[in-house]
């Protein structure tokens, strides 16, 4: 979605200077840790998504960047300056609040102009800037409305315009699209990307919606229980999750607990008691014998057939349930061991009379490198 030529991927360049840095940041509320030892570098023009469930610490991390919370330990840097102890009104960042936090006693115009007035910008310039922003968020003609006279989507756009008004170096967005319905949300996601690209700003978005993160982000940071558990590009997060938590949180996945064994020829192999089957590990897999680990395979990486097919990995079971979701269908298959796995298949033709059906025996196959092995 975003133009990510290799030259744009600054995070791959070891010499690039980060624009925003969290250095060993921890935050504790009355003895309860909310953020634990986070190290994170975000680069200019990134659209970075902090993804996690509620209570994962993602919002706290964002609020520390905005200046509403002070880290218990560690430091926060913006553009090479330690801003850890700076009050919010001195930081070069602006935030779009989850609740929008529009000033109810001010018109749309005054809401957007609020930050500019604080900077002492001359009135004609303010007028010009506000008109321009109203155009950008397609709300021209709404300048004199009060927030309560606007719909949810319109308020969200006013909040965006207000946060953009001062042309901050960094825009922070806390669950920006949470309150919008699905269609509006998708449109707005694309719009956000367009605005971010055209203004050349750094966006940091907090969301619990993995689809939203995948759509928007140049990179995603996944948070769990205060830890930043993985920071990578969306496809890396999806295809190469670093832990069971990430694998499970982003998309759907089948997880089998395995032990490392050895074949007669001396190659490493995996055996899972849960599915009562051996599995072929990915190429370049290395681990000590008898180690317990997890084999993870996404539903869409597996194939279903009535006849046994020769493949690196083959399982067999009975179709328990089929969910038709329009663009694809999900099959829940009960293996002979009793373990239930999930296989999905795109609905390529309109009416697939030959498709496998309930209570039929099916074979599930996948290639050697379709799955990943996780150690935590």
């Amino acid at each position: 979605m975003t133009s990510t030529g290799l030259q744009d991927k600054r995070w791959l360049d070891p010499d690039a200077t980060p624009f925003i840095e969290f250095r060993n940041v921890s935050k504790t509320y009355q003895g309860v840790p909310a953020v634990k030892d986070v190290n994170l570098s975000i680069y200019q023009n990134e659209l970075f998504c902090l993804l996690g469930g509620s209570g994962s610490g993602k919002t706290t991390l964002l609020r520390m960047l905005a200046g509403f919370e002070t880290p218990t330990s560690g430091s926060v840097w913006i553009d090479g300056v330690d801003v850890t102890d700076w009050p919010p009104y001195e930081r070069p960042v602006n935030m779009m609040f989850q609740s929008y936090a529009l000033f109810p006693h001010m018109t749309v115009y005054d809401n957007i102009a609020y930050g500019l007035k604080r900077d002492g910008m001359p009135k004609p310039e303010i007028r010009e800037r506000v008109e321009e922003l109203l155009g950008l968020v397609r709300l021209s003609g709404f300048a004199n409305r009060k927030p309560e006279q606007l719909s949810g989507g319109q308020r969200q756009r006013v909040a965006l315009a207000r946060a953009l008004a001062k042309r901050p170096k960094v825009l922070l967005l806390d669950e920006p699209l949470g309150a919008l319905d699905k269609n509006l949300r998708e449109d707005t996601q694309l719009e956000l990307i367009k605005i971010q690209e055209s203004l050349g700003m750094t966006f940091i978005v907090v969301t619990h919606d993995q689809e939203e993160a995948m759509t928007l982000a140049t990179r995603i940071g996944v948070m769990d229980e205060g830890y930043l558990v993985q920071t990578d590009e969306p496809h890396t997060i999806y295809e190469y999750p670093s832990s069971k938590y990430v694998a499970d949180f982003i998309g759907d996945i089948n997880l089998f607990e395995c032990v490392v064994t050895e074949t007669e020829s001396g190659d490493l192999s995996l055996y899972s008691a849960e599915i009562e089957a051996g599995l072929c590990p990915p190429t370049s897999f290395a681990a000590p014998l008898n180690q317990t680990l997890w084999y993870a395979i996404r539903p869409e990486k597996m194939r279903l057939s009535r006849e046994p097919v020769d493949a690196d990995n083959v399982l067999s079971g009975i179709v328990h349930e089929i969910a038709y979701l329009g663009d694809f269908s999900v099959y829940w298959v009960d293996l002979d061991s009793g373990f239930r796995i999930r296989v999905s298949r795109p609905n390529i033709s309109r009416l697939d009379h030959f498709a496998e059906s309930w209570d039929e025996r099916v074979y599930i196959t996948w290639g050697q490198d379709a799955g990943v092995v996780l150690t935590q």
Binding site: P87, P88, Y89, A101, G115, R118, A165
Partner: protein, 301 residues
Amino acid sequence: MKPLGLPKFKNGHRWVAWVPTLWLLLFFLIPFLVVAKISLSEAAIAMPPYLPVIEWVESGVAQIRLNVGNYLFIIEDPLYAASYWESVRIALVSTLVTLLIGYPMAHVIAMSPEPRRTLLLILVILPFWTSFLLRVYAWIAILKTNGLLNSVLLHVGLISEPLVILQTDVAVYLGIAYTYLPFMVLPLYAALSRLDRTLLEASADLGATPWVSFFTVTLPLTLPGIFAGSLLVFVPAIGEFVIPALLGGNDTLMIGKVLWNEFFANRDWPIASAVAIIMLCLIVGPLMWLNRLQAKQEQGA
């Protein structure tokens, strides 16, 4: 779905509305009419000390004598206008003093975490549990020439001779502010605790220092609370009698005192009643105007 509720009292809300209506009728409207009637009669050395408004002159003929002379007298004698003005002035200053003390208090309480918040609220209401008169007398002990305040200030060396506060307007302002403070603090507290804190985060985020945030966000959004609290202090303060009588000087001539004098010293009930009626009109007029203004503002918002 069948509507729930008590079918026997289908018009229950109408019955409920009767209770306050009856209350107001009995204890407000009827006394008001009585006072209005007395204000239109003539003073006399009699029991009660005024002439009846309606009199049977001969069989079948009732004579109604409406004496507007009391009102004319009040309007003509500058003493009354002066004391009305004095009352309004003292009430205004006292309300302002109460607001300036009450707003920071309410702010601190509203921003305090539980359970400190509840404790502070109880402390605000606590003085109500002792006698009002006792508390005003306590102020005499504090403010008099050789009172607590002067002894402390003299002892510390801040002043070289005692301050004269008692029997001045300042003592009246202090007394009214002290007495009516809870009426100011509670509505302000309600308004401040309703305030969405993320709005203050938003203003800080957009570059407003805490003071600017206060004047551009907190203050405008708590204006209804300021209005409510100020009215609750201002209205009773205009008619205040005990506080100016005990703490004020002889030249502190508030309308409550004038009324008391007319009633008890002069035994001129009609004039006293007329003074009361005019005071009521003076308060109710602006009040209704303010009420309408606020309603209009809420509609427009």
